[in-house]
Symmetry: C2
């Protein structure tokens, strides 16, 4: 069976994945002479930088999602299909999905990356990842559920397991979620769970390296650690988690922490696609591409974003796996595929800077020539994220939510959303 | 094990269920001399009249939920616990829950009602109920999923199964969801699913009785049917659904409709509580109460809302199972429990009227002396529901959503939210 896409004289570009890279490319090519087919396993784009705000009940999932059918609606030559991709036949120029197969003239891989548990199956089974809105929502439900249960648990150890939270990984996700949870502990819990002693709640941030936010400046790294400590987060550097059985987290030095909830933000690895030669798969399962984002050995298969591994002079070990690289690669590839077909331009990354926020009123910002921390950095963080968010309505809702939370010191979305249990039908509904 | 509630000199009232009745009662008693323990299996109150708007992606679940911990936060003598109740021991005045047991001085049952499949297990297995936000969200996901799948199904019959929708039950829920789906078909689908022929989509409303909205006036009933027909809904009256195998809906006259989605809004039955004598259980599993809402034979066990069956002069067959009755019974019971203990007042229902909306710009409203239909009725419907909604923030978000949808003819929440699959842990987390 073929995927039902109208036949056309145009060259067909299939884009796999609608994250920052894939969605940006689809939009850039929407008015081009190509037929664009955008595939994603979800029917929405999700705004990864704010996942942690879903987890701590500050934002609703819908506020940071953007329905991909909108693209369909606006452009006659863009076709969205909700499906995963199982494999590619590079000789026949054809991809295979549960929905059917489809021929491509150009194939752009933008499936991004997922959580890396570094092969530790026990940790994978018990720890909570943060690479999708569904996972963030699961974490929210777990936190709220465990607090409810803790109210009726007399045993100290067991109660500690329910209320303590361990975050593994001191990158932006780990730092931001630790800061936000510390605020929840400080402002919300004493009001809502009067019977719990909020001093009993410990939030740990475990970092393998010798500083937090490794990619950022020394000032920002130090400031983020200070901010977290002021909020009461227990920061452990030079510490690696070696085991977690769902109850006790074990560190490399043998020390243990009792906790039923471990948030795993310690690393990512690129998503796989069957059918590509082993030789193009490199560090972190990324695909080796040249400066035109062509996958090594192929002239019409490209990889962009977190999935791509490209070496350039300033980045001899590849680019950081962040939204800015993904968006810029998509823009460059779009230009090369349309205007500059005769004379394609090699990609060169313009680092616009990086930032992270730590709770209320505090953030760290590194720009090219300017580094600053504190309240002004926090305002910059807010503005940048609000503008980067896709969709006017999302901007409005996130803005109102933020203002509301800021004024009331409240996160009013502490709702435990249980899925309606009809697993059998779910599975059937997902069959192609 | 006991539920961990502080010991007190005060009389303890346990309220089971935080719907309209239970939440209203808890609020009225918050400043009384009682210790109030509010139990619900969810940590939120849900606003049932707008479930159908969640199902059609017009509102987010969070906008019509209200976290019950807020009640805890405001009042020192109100204790919320998230738990179901398994049974009551009326002799020992004690309830039993998965969280532990608890003694009561007064027990108020307000667990409401759930979908009634009238014993037809096949229909129960395949049809989609609409009595919780989770079920409404499930319906939304099913509709969107099936449209996505329909894009690649060449077979006409099979595609019909995916895109046609059958609604069983011509009460307010059935009428409102039918109207809303018809609008989605008219305004949204032609824009977003260009490749589907929206004329192929049929929406059926099956009603057993000889008119829609049975409890309302003849004018409103007729108007609602006319409005639905103008929107293209196929209304079948005097028709009973006798079987549904997940593919074909079979009517009492042997006729069949192909559809993978049947929305079951044909009846409700009260929720059960083990430990009450059989003799108090009456029509629709409701509990027989006297005019003081005392369950027959008990002086300190009350039932209010959908769960209660009370005969009064004007309502010889019991009250309608609607929010207004629940709220008024809660208010009367609160007064009797506090101010009028020596001289309790019998309950008497003041019918304020009823209403239903059918898509954009149209509704039907029956007040005591005034009945009207059309645009003005629709405005009244909007204002009443906005004011009835609990929580200032919910009001703001619902209002903005409605304005946005009205202007753009769009429901921007068409997101298929898949739960993160870790069923084992979910089950464990829910264990007490």
């Amino acid at each position: 069976m073929h995927i039902n896409i109208p036949a056309t004289e145009r060259d067909r570009i299939i884009i796999v994945g609608a994250g920052f890279a894939g969605l940006q490319l689809a939009r850039q090519l929407a008015r081009s002479s190509y037929q664009v087919v955008l595939l994603d396993k979800n029917n929405f784009h999700q705004f990864q930088p704010l996942f942690y705000q879903v987890a701590i009940a500050r934002l609703e999932p819908s506020s940071i999602k953007f329905t991909l059918r909108k693209e369909n609606q606006k452009h006659a030559n863009v076709f969205f299909r909700m499906t995963s991709v199982e494999r590619v036949d590079t000789a026949a120029q054809r991809i295979y999905t549960p929905m059917g197969d489809l021929h491509y003239d150009h194939l752009v891989l933008a499936m991004g990356a997922d959580t890396n548990f570094f092969g530790n199956e026990e940790i994978q089974r018990h720890a909570i990842p943060m690479k999708s809105v569904a996972e963030a929502l699961y974490l929210r439900n777990r936190i709220l559920n465990d607090f409810e249960r803790a109210l009726s648990v007399p045993d100290y150890e067991e109660r500690q397991g329910l209320i303590d939270i361990v975050i593994v990984g001191g990158g932006p996700t780990g730092v931001e979620v630790a800061g936000a949870l510390a605020e929840m502990k400080k402002y919300i819990l004493p009001r809502e769970y009067k019977e719990l002693d909020s001093k009993e709640i410990d939030i740990y941030l475990i970092q393998g390296a010798d500083c937090l936010l490794k990619g950022m400046s020394a000032e920002s790294s130090a400031a983020s650690e200070r901010f977290l400590q002021e909020l009461g987060v227990i920061v452990k550097k030079d510490t690696r988690v070696v085991a977690y059985d769902g109850k006790y987290v074990e560190m490399h030095d043998g020390s243990k922490i009792r906790s039923n909830k471990v948030i795993w933000a310690a690393g990512i690895q690129a998503n796989k696609l069957v059918g590509l030669p082993e030789s193009v798969i490199t560090y972190g399962r990324r695909l080796q591409v040249n400066r035109l984002n062509q996958v090594e050995g192929f002239s019409c298969i490209y990889a962009i974003g977190d999935l791509a591994y490209m070496e350039e002079e300033a980045f001899p070990q590849g680019h950081p796996q962040v939204a800015q690289v993904a968006i810029q690669q998509a823009e460059n590839l779009a230009r090369n595929l349309t205007k500059k077909r005769q004379n394609p331009q090699p990609f060169s990354y313009q680092d616009l800077g990086s930032m992270a926020t730590i709770g209320r009123n505090r953030a760290v910002v590194d720009l090219k020539r300017l580094k600053f921390q504190g309240f002004f950095a926090w305002v910059v963080w807010l503005v940048v994220h609000l503008f980067a968010l896709i969709g006017v309505k999302n901007k409005i809702f996130v803005f109102i939510n933020w203002v509301w939370n800021y004024i009331t010191y409240d996160q009013s979305l502490r709702l435990i959303i249980r899925p309606f249990q009809r697993q059998q039908e779910w599975k059937e509904a997902e069959k192609p």
